[in-house]
């Protein structure tokens, strides 16, 4: 608490010198034109601006202020029906917000890398770590309770990875089972012999295994503790091999294995240790423990050298283990996993939606992203591409010929309406209702997932829409939506959301191309908030490409949150903005973004003991 106030003081001092004065130049305008609806009392859309009295408040909710900036700049706010600020007043607020958000004065923000990592391995991280440690690809954590996700929108957010009793029970049971299944050369490579006493051989095995499992050098005292367990089993008369495995059980339920634990090394913020950096890297790009090569570089103390770090990153992106990054980062960012949990197309209306098709839909964006990583392609291909990855069930859905079998391969797309993640079956299905597509949900998905500018929640008691796409009262679904948008309460957000979804109306609720809806030709025209018109998916994508910098900043923020295992804070803003700029200058190449992140201040440092 005391620390927060200190930061605010510093910030206020810095701001006044840097960019106009918030209290004198900006706040009065907001007060006059915004607070009535966005103040303390029943704030519209949950957006409250009245508490902002300095720059620090801005950095506590940079995402919201970014939206505020957009709304004011686009003259979407205040609503037409309400009093309007003068052009000068509007310009003054926009200029101040733009400077504060897009080009913050680093001097105004005392550097803060965030807390040291204390992170319980997620289910996927546990599975992969066991695979690399024990050579067992049985994915035991699939039987563990699922992890929820936190602020960054990813299930690797440390703050929301809890350790309930049921999980510890599973860890213990899994440890016993896994160690019994592991091959001797993995867990007990050293045998006692004429020149090697039993206890010494056991100690060697334990020391070797523990260093791997804990992902760092281990103090001898910790090994001696484990030797106690070995001795117990030995006295029970268990064979050497069994006795070592018994001692290793304690390793697999130890907090040093189940958690990534970083130790602050000073009072002030310091660089993380080389071992900690190796784990940060491997859990970022592989969702698993470091391999021997990373351990070697960490041991040599050279991992932090930019050339070494860059070479390691490039190697890791090419490694097959990098698929975990595509699955966890891209999969969760694009929310495709909802296909497994919540999306439920009605079997009567869509009998073609089989488990095989669903699995193919789930795989497509992952295959696409994984290939992008390996080729070091441009991230803009996620917005539009002239190819995709498909197998037979998916190709059939898309109307593509000549793709046989379950195996995925790269397929050229001649029709430019298809291509890019927004036109993938998974996305189109998860943004539909069981019996019809939803332009609103699709528009919302584009705003939220691709552009990072989610609309606020709907007001209570919104009007109802039909559950299928049959015309009602003589109006098509689209016409009903348009009518809905004439209501002042709804217009603000729906004129941003709905047109994006209309552009995708040529795809039905499972992503199949259609020319007609309920006998009427599809109307896939739309108008962006700035008045530019488009028709159909191809033109919609061209519009999205015009907003590539908004998209790039969103991907950057998402990837930082994923890499740092936490939601972003205001002190991360300068780092994120800088990276987004570098990315734009580097043709949006994937490896450039990853490199910028791993070389960044928050990735390489952590807070000390005295905040």
């Amino acid at each position: 608490m005391r620390r927060a106030r200190f930061v605010i003081l510093l910030l206020s001092a810095g701001t006044r010198a840097a960019a106009g004065d918030f209290a004198e130049d900006v706040r009065p305008v907001l007060e006059k034109f915004c607070f009535k609806c966005h103040g303390a009392d029943k704030p519209k859309g949950g957006v409250q601006l009245h508490r902002a009295d300095d720059l620090a408040a801005l950095y506590r909710a940079p995402g919201m202020w970014d939206r505020v900036l957009g709304e004011i700049r686009d003259e979407a706010m205040p609503p037409e029906t309400k009093p309007q600020p003068s052009a000068e007043e509007r310009q003054r607020v926009v200029a101040w917000l733009e400077k504060a958000l897009n080009d913050p004065d680093p001097a105004a923000l005392p550097p803060d890398p965030g807390p040291p990592v204390l992170h319980r391995l997620s289910r996927d991280e546990y599975n992969n770590t066991i695979r690399d440690l024990l050579g067992l690809d049985t994915r035991p954590a699939n039987e563990f309770p699922p992890d929820g996700g936190g602020g960054g929108g990813f299930d690797n957010t440390s703050a929301t990875l809890f350790t309930p009793p049921v999980l510890v029970e599973k860890y213990l049971a899994a440890a016993t089972k896994l160690l019994a299944a592991a091959r001797p050369e993995r867990v007990v490579p050293v045998r006692p012999g004429p020149a090697l006493a039993k206890a010494d051989a056991a100690r060697k095995n334990l020391a070797r295994f523990v260093a791997h499992a804990f992902r760092r050098p281990v103090e001898p005292a910790q090994i001696e503790l484990l030797m106690g367990l070995f001795a117990q089993a030995d006295q029970r008369g268990e064979p050497f091999d069994e006795a070592v495995r018994f001692a290793l059980r304690a390793v697999l339920v130890s907090p040093d294995f189940l958690f990534r634990i970083e130790t602050p090394r000073g009072e002030k913020a310091t660089p993380v240790s080389d071992w900690e950096l190796a784990s940060r890297l491997s859990y970022f790009l592989w969702s698993s423990m470091p391999d021997d090569e990373l351990f070697r570089v960490a041991h040599a103390g050279t991992l932090r050298q930019p050339a070494v770090l860059a070479a390691q990153v490039r190697r890791m992106l090419q490694d097959p283990k990098g698929r975990a990054f595509a699955e966890n980062f891209a999969g969760q960012w694009l929310r495709v996993d909802e296909l497994r949990t919540s999306a439920q197309p009605d079997a009567k209306v869509f009998p073609d939606y089989t488990p095989a098709l669903r699995d193919a839909m789930l795989a497509e964006p992952i295959e696409f992203f994984h290939a992008l990583m390996r080729e070091n392609g441009s991230l803009l291909r996620l917005l539009d591409a002239d190819y995709t990855y498909a197998n037979e069930p998916l190709a059939r859905l898309y109307g593509l010929d000549g793709v046989k079998g379950e195996k995925f391969r790269r397929v050229a797309l001649k029709d430019r309406n298809r291509g890019g993640v927004a036109t993938m079956g998974a996305v189109l299905t998860l943004t539909s209702y069981p019996r019809r597509s939803s332009p609103v949900l699709r528009g919302k998905w584009v705003l939220e997932q691709l552009l990072g500018t989610p609309p606020p929640p709907p007001p209570p008691l919104v009007k109802s829409l039909p559950r299928d796409d049959q015309p009602k009262d003589g109006l098509t679904l689209r016409q009903q939506l348009e009518k809905h948008r004439t209501e002042a309460n709804c217009a603000g957000c729906h004129k941003r959301m709905d047109p994006l979804g209309f552009g995708l109306e040529n795809f039905d609720a499972i992503g199949r191309w259609r020319a007609e809806i309920a006998g009427q030709p599809v109307d896939a025209t739309g108008e962006m908030v700035n008045g530019e018109k488009f028709s159909g998916p191809a033109e919609l994508k061209a519009q999205l490409l015009k907003r590539k910098d908004v998209f790039a900043r969103n991907v950057t923020e998402k990837m930082y949150a994923y890499a740092l295992n936490r939601g972003l804070e205001y002190y991360d803003v300068p780092t994120v903005r800088r990276t987004a700029k570098v990315l734009a200058a580097a043709d949006y190449r994937v490896d450039q973004l990853v490199l910028e992140i791993v070389q960044s201040y928050p990735f390489q440092n952590h807070r000390g003991t005295t905040p």
């Binding site: 699922p146 936190g150 602020g151 703050a159 809890f162 029970e169 069981p434 606020p456 109802s464 003991t609």
Partner: protein, 468 residues
């Protein structure tokens, strides 16, 4: 390990609720519940339904003993004498925030959850079931059993700015720690009954020494960490200790009286076979999205958990908050639960909403039937239990936390006078009911969140409500 039923020390052990003043009342209830003639313990279950109920179709008519079940409650008709239908209770702390998450995460805490996207998850209190578990949990292998159907969704509901974690948990072991629920039937079954397997006792003893070592090692680690991190590791240590307790039970196996019941053994075997059949991939597509069997297996697990005294406290979530579950497998229903709950007074949608609600009570009725068929010391298992079935709102279209749909089944070891519908004054705290239930679990609670005393007339057959 052995504790006297009302030791003052246990009572005061780190609970969010204010304990201990109405000692006499709790003693009286506990004594009545567990007389020498009926040594069976009282069990507590909470069943949570998402998305509320169809308005106008839930409220029973009449008061006290002479009441008629509503259309939604009709499936409970065979068990009418075992019920308390409670009207006009509400959860004041959830009358804020958003439509669903505050009404789910805070359902059993009576507090307002903190709006967060994940970094400061906080319900504000230990949930009612966990208060009970802290009281009686040490007497059974599992202090409590959390079951459900849906996995927690990843990420934030950006519509309202809450992490979806809140919508997936009603049980909180601390104000900041939600308890994960088991949704996999096989895993839940193994967890409950694996210790019946031969060779378990020896294995348990070995695991105990592993755990001891881990605890010792972790305590050393604690010293290296900062305050925040220490708290996080504390949570891990708490869990390790609870596993240690579980192992102690496994090793000692002194509770054979209940477990050696041949009927229970057969029921365990039968359920195991049903779970195998359920997990058979060939049957998945046959079910066509009908998850009734999944729900029933989980409810049967709860019943067996109580019967075998593997646990005395359990919660079950029919679905997470805002559940979009497609109920098209029911005749006359097409679409997702949440979507349909926003009926906008469209009669056709309301009929579907009502049908979905009734399906939930059909499952509850199934469970009650099972519990009534199990004999236990001259009573039924249901007689010795208290099952709270409820939702965090009434009409899902309005997200209204007033007039919550609350049913309690079972006689709490003879301390609840069932077979009545009771209407209370409007805005009577739901937590008053929690106070009453906790006291019947032997936990002498004076106040729980916003409670104003024990809910009137729970054990008084002559009481017929006090609606204004």
């Amino acid at each position: 390990m052995k504790t006297t039923p009302l030791s003052r020390r246990t009572m005061l052990k780190g609970l969010g609720a204010t304990l201990c003043l109405p000692l006499l009342e709790a003693m009286r209830l506990a004594t009545r519940a567990a007389t020498t003639a009926n040594p069976s313990p009282v069990r507590l279950a909470v069943l949570y339904m998402p998305n509320g109920v169809c308005p106008g179709k839930w409220n029973p008519t009449g008061a006290g003993r002479s009441f008629e079940l509503s259309p939604i409650l009709q499936p409970l008709a065979p068990h009418k004498d075992e019920l308390l239908v409670l009207r006009n209770l509400w959860n004041a702390a959830s009358n804020t925030g958003d439509g669903h998450y505050v009404k789910t995460g805070g359902f059993l805490t009576g507090t307002t959850i903190t709006r967060t996207t994940g970094s400061d998850l906080r319900s504000g209190a230990v949930s009612m079931d966990q208060v009970a578990a802290k009281r009686v949990g040490h007497l059974t292998p599992l202090p409590s059993l959390e079951l459900g159907i849906d996995p927690p969704a990843t990420g934030v509901d950006t519509n309202v700015g809450y992490t979806q974690l809140y919508g997936a948990h009603i049980s909180w072991s601390t104000p900041t720690t939600p308890l994960a629920k088991e949704i996999n039937p096989r895993a839940a079954f193994d967890r409950l009954f694996r210790s019946n397997a031969p060779g378990r006792a020896a294995e348990a003893a070995k695991n105990r020494s592993v755990i001891d070592l881990v605890l010792e090692d972790a305590r050393r680690l604690q010293k290296r960490l900062g305050a925040d991190d220490r708290q996080k590791l504390d949570e891990y240590l708490e869990s390790v200790r609870s596993v240690e307790q579980r192992i102690a039970f496994d090793a000692q196996r002194q509770r054979e009286t209940v477990r050696s019941d041949g009927l229970a053994e057969r029921a365990i075997k039968d359920l195991g076979a049903r779970i195998d059949a359920y997990a058979d991939p060939a049957r998945v597509s046959e079910r066509k999205g009908d998850h009734t069997e999944h729900v029933r297996i989980m409810l049967d697990l709860m019943v067996l958990g109580f019967w075998t005294d593997s646990t005395r406290v359990s919660t079950f979530m029919f679905g997470n908050a805002v559940s979009p579950r497609n109920f098209s497998f029911l005749d006359g229903v097409s679409g997702g639960f949440h979507e349909i709950s926003h009926h906008k007074n469209d009669p056709e949608k309301m009929a579907q909403y009502q049908r979905i609600n009734a399906w939930h009570y059909e499952q509850f009725a199934y469970m009650l039937g099972k519990m009534r068929a199990i004999r236990e010391g001259g009573r039924t298992l249901l007689d010795n239990s208290m099952l709270l079935f409820g939702a965090g709102m009434h009409d899902g279209n309005a997200h209204d936390p007033h007039k919550l749909p609350i049913v309690v089944a079972g006689r709490g070891g003879g301390t609840l006078a069932t077979g009545r519908a009771l209407a209370y004054e409007n805005n009577t705290p739901l937590t008053n009911l929690y106070v009453g239930m906790l006291r019947r679990m032997g936990t002498p609670v004076e106040k729980f969140a916003d409670s104003t005393g024990e809910l009137a007339g729970l054990g008084d057959a002559a009481f017929s409500g006090r609606e204004a």
